[in-house]
């Protein structure tokens, strides 16, 4: 019986290449510091956009190795410095993937805190164990040498880029694109007509995965078409 011969899969070329970038960030210390939940609620409304960005999107990068227990700086402070466990849970549940603008994200965070303080007015003036320091981030984009024109090159680039690059394309991208998606999924869909794969990539849970997990899961999703 003749051995089955596996024919090489034809290479599917992207209409436009994927350029892998990365980013570096610098934390700028702001002037606002909240010592009570009441002050925190006020400052949440008045702090700069890049402070909201730093304490939600960017902090996921600083804590990319955690799979549980940490989703944003606001929830963490309310839990550890104010001991308001209920509010901490609600803030921790605010999912940045559902927002494509800082304005909308700020609105959701502010409403969560305000609603809580209406129900728990005595929590407003209670002194926190330590202040919340509003910071912001200055982010600089860094090109990398990796460019993908097909799936094999894409997977190869994905294996080699830094975790900061994954954060830039997979998490930060939402605010740039103004879409509930990310750079990887969009490229798969628009340049390779692989919308279903892009969808699966977009559904990877960033809150229960480390960024290294994200890399490995994307590679696993891509495996059948490599």
């Amino acid at each position: 019986m003749a051995a089955t011969q596996t024919l090489p899969r034809p290479v599917r070329w992207a209409r436009s290449p994927f350029y892998f970038n990365s980013s570096a960030q610098l934390i700028r210390i702001g002037r606002q510091r909240a010592t009570t939940l009441g002050e925190f609620a006020d400052m949440l409304q008045s702090c700069p956009d890049d402070a909201i960005f730093q304490h939600t999107f960017q902090t996921l990068r600083d804590h990319h190795y955690l799979r549980e227990g940490f989703t944003n700086d606001f929830g963490h402070w309310v839990f550890s410095a104010c001991n308001e466990v209920g509010l901490a849970e609600q803030l921790a549940a605010v999912d940045v993937r559902e927002f494509t603008s800082i304005k909308a994200l700020r609105g959701a965070l502010t409403k969560t805190v305000q609603d809580y303080l209406v129900k728990n007015p005595r929590s407003r003036e209670r002194a926190a164990f330590e202040p919340f320091y509003f910071c912001a981030s200055d982010t600089v984009v860094i090109p990398t040498p990796f460019v993908a024109r097909n799936m094999a090159e894409f997977a190869d680039g994905l294996r080699q880029i830094s975790l900061h690059s994954i954060h830039y394309h997979f998490i930060d991208a939402r605010l740039r694109l103004k879409l509930n998606s990310n750079d990887f999924s969009l490229w798969l869909e628009e340049e390779l007509d692989l919308g279903a794969l892009g969808d699966r990539v977009n559904h990877i849970d960033i809150y229960t995965s480390t960024l290294e997990d994200v890399r490995q899961r994307i590679l696993k999703i891509l495996q059948p078409v490599l």
Binding site: A24, D49, T139, V141, T144, P145, S165
Partner: protein, 487 residues
């Protein structure tokens, strides 16, 4: 006993342990000039203990037994050559190093001058010794200059340093004149032709008077300004306000200033003597020589003998925990030889330890980096139960080594120890004791904390991260890059 023959490590007498005896028989661990010695004689003990021996009171001291003397070098070893960028690749990965190279490429041709007040000793000099070679390897020409001054100047700056930390200080016209006179002398002596100037700490802050249209000036403040002496701060503030930016080690260390303020966490070098990977055989040798039994849990606090590090509180926590779990406690630090207060605290620690043979108290010279590295790696849990703290780099070192850390929630420690995620924060002796028991009986959770702690340091507190921060800051200062705008 001649000075050079004194044991550099004090410890409570220990009971012989099978594994140590085995090591002593099996391995030729001592150099030829080292000989086993008896336990410390009364004259070598701390005053309280010597007094107790003379009076024949207090807890019964077991008869002296033969123990190995750990021979420390009496002078600091010559510094190792600084690592090259490629040496960090196995730790960080190629992509991260390439990102540094890309950022630096933009700055090629630009020149930087960093100025501080000492070339050796102290944390700032230690950081600059590592940072400057990496910057130059990245072809960002960086020069390091040190200001000079007489004893009167350094007395004033020491007073300023303590006052900025909240201490008392008498500010007279004379001390302000001394400060400005030496700053002016240095300003006249130095050239200021670079593109960027980074001035470290308050001592050389007055050099800002050389600021001209060309060049951007950054003030790097390594100290906690949260509660400064008002007169000293009011004197320095007009100078600081002339800088283009300031850099602090923690948001809580800052003051309100009209210039941008950036956050650079203090960092450790993963390739330094204190943090590099070391042979298991060396770890074993250090433990054997110090009398630490590796077959049983080891709790360690590395700190100078200072009440703010609460070494007596650590002993109390250990004693509470030991009612339920077997463990040893190693307290290792310095400062007892050259600091009268340190010697008093060491005596208090010896007193608190009593005759517990499982408490090992070590007074190490400042050049004990490798020994400290070994002790940290041998530890089951690292404790830093400070009552007040700057940033707490000993915590960073322990986290880097993947150790579960129990630490006081003070100073910069909560930036490093995220409670129950990268370590455990405690607020009392009792809390510390409970957490010791919990971690010793839940090793899988201890391991989880250690793993997270290592990653937390890798992301935020390594020298290479600070190299990246400097490169980004330089680009921003020179207007060479556009930062991403989010809306």
């Amino acid at each position: 006993m001649a000075e050079k023959e004194k044991p550099s490590a004090l410890s409570t007498p220990e009971k012989p342990r099978p594994n140590q005896n085995k090591a002593r028989e099996d391995a030729p661990l001592l150099r030829e000039d080292e000989v086993p010695v008896k336990a410390p004689k009364p004259a070598e003990l701390c005053p309280a203990e010597a007094d107790r021996e003379r009076r024949g009171t207090g807890p019964a001291v077991p008869p002296p037994r033969e123990r190995r003397k750990y021979k420390m070098s009496e002078t600091p070893p010559a510094p190792a050559p600084p690592p090259r960028l490629k040496d960090y690749e196995p730790i960080l990965g190629r992509a991260d190093i390439d990102e540094l190279r890309f950022l630096a490429r933009q700055l090629r041709g630009k020149t930087v001058k960093m100025v501080n007040s000492t070339a050796v000793g102290g944390g700032v000099a230690e950081i600059l010794n590592r940072l400057i070679p990496l910057m130059n390897e990245l072809e960002v020409a960086t020069k390091w200059e040190v200001i000079t001054g007489g004893n009167d100047f350094f007395e004033v700056t020491k007073g300023f340093h303590n006052a900025l930390h909240g201490g008392e200080y008498h500010v007279s016209k004379e001390v302000l004149d001394i400060f400005m006179m030496y700053n002016e002398q240095n300003r006249q002596r130095m050239e200021f032709v670079e593109d960027l100037f980074v001035i470290h700490d308050p001592q050389p802050a007055g050099l800002i008077r050389s600021k001209r249209d060309r060049g951007r000036w950054i003030w790097r403040c390594h100290i906690d300004l949260s509660n400064p002496h008002p007169e000293v701060w009011n004197f320095l503030k007009p100078m600081i306000e002339q800088y283009d930016a300031a850099v602090f080690s923690s948001p809580s260390f800052t003051r309100q200033l009209p210039i941008p303020q950036y956050l650079f966490y203090p960092c450790i070098d993963p390739l330094s003597e204190k943090n590099k990977e070391i042979d298991e055989a060396y770890v074993q040798k250090v433990c054997d020589d110090f009398g630490v039994d590796r077959s049983r849990p080891i709790l360690t606090q590395i700190s100078r003998y200072d009440r703010l590090k609460d070494p007596v509180g650590v002993i109390e926590a250990y004693k509470l925990a030991k009612k339920y779990v077997d463990c040893q406690l190693v307290l290792a630090g310095g400062g007892a030889s050259d600091d009268p207060e340190g010697a008093v605290v060491l005596a208090e620690v010896m007193e608190a330890a009593g005759d517990d043979q499982d408490i090992i108290i070590l007074n190490l010279p400042p050049w004990s980096a490798l020994e400290i590295n070994a002790l940290q790696r041998a530890s089951t849990i690292v404790i830093q139960k400070s009552l007040r703290e700057g940033f707490g780099l000993t915590v960073t070192e322990a986290l880097w080594k993947g150790k579960p850390v129990i630490a006081g929630a003070v100073g910069g420690i909560p930036s490093q120890v995220i409670h129950k995620l990268t370590g455990i924060l405690v607020h009392s002796v009792e809390g510390c004791a409970y957490q010791i028991r919990y971690l010793l009986t839940h090793p899988e959770f201890a391991q989880y904390l250690g793993k997270n702690g290592h990653e937390h340091v890798k992301e935020n507190f390594l020298l290479t991260t600070n190299v990246k921060r400097w490169l980004v800051l330089f680009e921003i200062m020179l207007g060479m890059t556009r930062t991403l705008k989010v809306t």
